[in-house]
Amino acid sequence: MNGIHDMGGAQGYGPVFYEPDEPVFHGEWEQRVLGMFPALFATGQFHVDEFRHAIERMGPIEYLRGTYYEHWLHAFETLLVEKGLVTAGELGNGKPDSGRTATPALAPDMVAGLLATGASARMDEDKPARFKVGDEVRVVNRHPSGHTRIPRYARGKLGTVALDHGAFVYPDTVAHGKGPHPQHVYSVSFAATELWGGDAAPKDTVRIDLWDDYLEAP
């Protein structure tokens, strides 16, 4: 979706705010939100692209007002209700309707192993690669209302396949419960002048990771 999250190339946000000796967390609430991420993903009830899409659906004012971990908090609340793990009423009053009805998916003694292993999105392809390193490609000019990982600044632009990373889960379908449809992801190199016009520095490039379905022959 053409949401506020798609920030590449936007102007007017001011200088980078750099905090010297920044702590890992700015408060206990940030710690708890971070810790809920693996604890809730371990339930197997939602995919990381559903989580990203829940953030994208926040609405621009709330998105800009909130920090990173507030976005996460919002996504947890949204998905827990949508997946039926928590009711809107329970979320509102902070109390379960019928006591303890589940067993935690992530036990403390599983944490180290889970964090050291993760969950790769790499899969065996179910469609062959249509492009190879060195090919010229054009990014499709597509504006889906759902989840996608094509940044707006790349749509319709001409680039060159620089790397073939192998096949990965396809976000546009998995975020909407429509299956993984694994396909190749390429690092596509774009001249800065192609993306931003003739004032860009002549040798600068931007490399964007794009799924096979995001590309077409020029």
Binding site: Y18, E19, W29, K95
Partner: protein
Amino acid sequence: MAHSHDHDHEHDGYQAPPEAIALRVKALESLLVEKGLVDPAAIDAVVDTYEHKVGPRNGAKVVAKAWVDAEYKARLLGDATAAIAELGFSGVQGEDMVVLENTPEVHNVTVCTLCSCYPWPTLGLPPAWYKAAPYRSRVVIDPRSVLAEFGLKIPRDKEIRVWDSTAELRYMVLPERPAGTEGMSEEALAELVTRDSMIGTGLPRQPGKA
């Protein structure tokens, strides 16, 4: 150095009151614990991992080893995930790693314009500025001015290669080894490697400087 001031929590000047958010988080955690969905001790263990065990010192060890060991560097540039795992670093948000070598011709810098993807096993959790609008919006369209805010002047005739991590690959920069470090131990070299030098918004420290 980029813009900064003393008020730690006002990252962009428009943050919601933290007390309200803190209460919302407490309410959610207590609900999830009472329902049996989450074990608070598991949350404690996750927090402890990223506060005390996983951080940019991991990535610094990878860089220092690549500087002193040409065969390791070749493995790192060929299959970063496996080479990083050789040093014991792996897992969440680093399942599929790519390492980008800076050269006299190319300066690499990483960003996630769509969210906040970042290589946790080697760099830890991302700093607030990496996740905020100014960096995410500007570094793809105007990298030179963003890097200048970090004190990094890249001449216009040198390629800046910006990597927008829109997929599940996680990127880390291998900075150039500073001059005058011949004969330094791997451990001493690792001390020169900053977090920002592995994002591409900084360079390693010069030897003998804090």
